[in-house]
Symmetry: C2
Subunit: 217 residues, 2 copies
DNA sequence: AGAAAATCTTGACAACTGTCAAATGCTGGA
DNA sequence: TCCAGCATTTGACAGTTGTCAAGATTTTCT
């Protein structure tokens, strides 16, 4: 009897898994559409009907795949995380010298600033929402941690290449670079290209300060 | 005939001015109520009726004193500005030594963090709104400028007292401290008192880095 | 092919939104 | 005292929102 039920179960399992996969695939598809709508309109003005219009489905389907709006937005945030949290890893891996790492990092910094500006402003929007709505807090904390770790990989590797030691801890270093990024994003979205360019120099100076030359320890 | 009309006019002017004053007084009164409601609920979930309930009037009166919702929110933001943009001036004025200034600044930093947390999260909320809604951009830019200047008064005075020169420009220095403040605010509102306490040390280190001892120039 | 199940659309609901106009209460001047 | 004009309330409007259920459609399995 064991054998038969086992065969049957695995068969059902295969079916179930395939269904689950399809279900999950559509879920993330809709989450991606949500992400783009949120990035365009911001959290405050994004409605389910608007999201559905940015997909190829009608608004009712959202409640087939998601429990409620929060569930949907949460899943969308997770999509953001997947995209935006490993951005500098190849830069770190590919740089042989400190100067090269610094240059590549700054380039990537401003490249994603310009290319993904709507996505980034959404991230800041949701991080702020978590200051009011504690439902978002856990997800935000998790992503914030990964972002901090991502920056720290850059900084500590940069210090290593420069034969130095970072002048600030992981949290403060992230606060500094994220602060510069936020400001640059604001300037970019306001059409102040000149101010953005000026911030490039500021970023270089900040990196030099964080990992001053010759501060071997 | 000139004299008579002049007398009449000044009389009417007095009346008119008194009315204007009363009008303005109520306007700011309602703007303050708006500010508190916004600080409690965030921009996305603040409705006119909710604002009115936090005042002693009914919701209709808001359209008597304000053209529309944006007008109201804008006026509320200006109230925030009046409160929050001169906070460190007495600290700067009253400190005789660098060590004293640093200590007082850090104390004030965390005092307002805890006392006015809802107000601060509102500021960040509105600054983010301006990334999506360009109507807010000018007001945000103005306040952001004043905040940066406020921080710069602290930093440059601190450097002066330490006989040193700031290691970063005004913009980057603000980005660093504001980044730390944002993070501390998040921790405070999440009930992570321990993390907030840890950030006090980070802030001190950041100040020391910005105005390193002996960096006379 | 036909039944069963999964998927998607449509339309409706109650609640809530910003806005405004009509009605009411109120105050200050003649 | 009475009245004009200011201040405030009330109630309504058109539109939007999240949610959900009933039905239509498509896919899947036997």
């Amino acid at each position: 009897m064991g054998a038969v039920t086992e065969v049957v179960e695995t068969k059902q399992d295969r079916i179930a898994r395939r269904q689950v996969d399809k279900f999950q695939a559509r879920r993330t598809e809709l989450a991606v559409a949500t992400l783009h709508t949120l990035a365009e309109l911001g959290y405050a003005r994004t409605s389910l009907r608007e999201i559905a219009q940015n997909s190829e489905f009608s608004h009712g389907v959202l409640h087939y795949y998601f429990a409620d709006k929060r569930d949907l937005v949460t899943e969308a945030v997770r999509q953001y995380e997947a995209v935006c949290v490993t951005r500098y890893d190849e830069v770190v891996a590919g740089a042989g010298t400190g100067a090269r790492l610094r240059e590549d990092f700054v380039d990537m910094f401003f490249a994603t600033l310009n290319a993904d500006a709507p996505l980034h402003r959404l991230w800041y929007d949701l991080r702020n929402q978590s200051l009011f709505d504690e439902t978002f807090r856990e997800d935000v904390r998790e992503i914030e941690e990964r972002r901090e770790a991502m920056i720290w990989r850059v900084i500590s590797r940069y210090a290593e290449l420069c034969d130095a030691v970072p002048a600030l801890g992981s949290g403060s270093a992230y606060a500094l670079l994220d602060g510069i990024f936020q400001r640059a994003l604001w300037c970019a979205l306001s059409g102040r290209a000149g101010d953005v360019a000026a911030l490039r120099g500021e970023l270089v100076r900040a990196l030099d300060l964080l990992v001053g030359e010759g501060q071997t320890q």
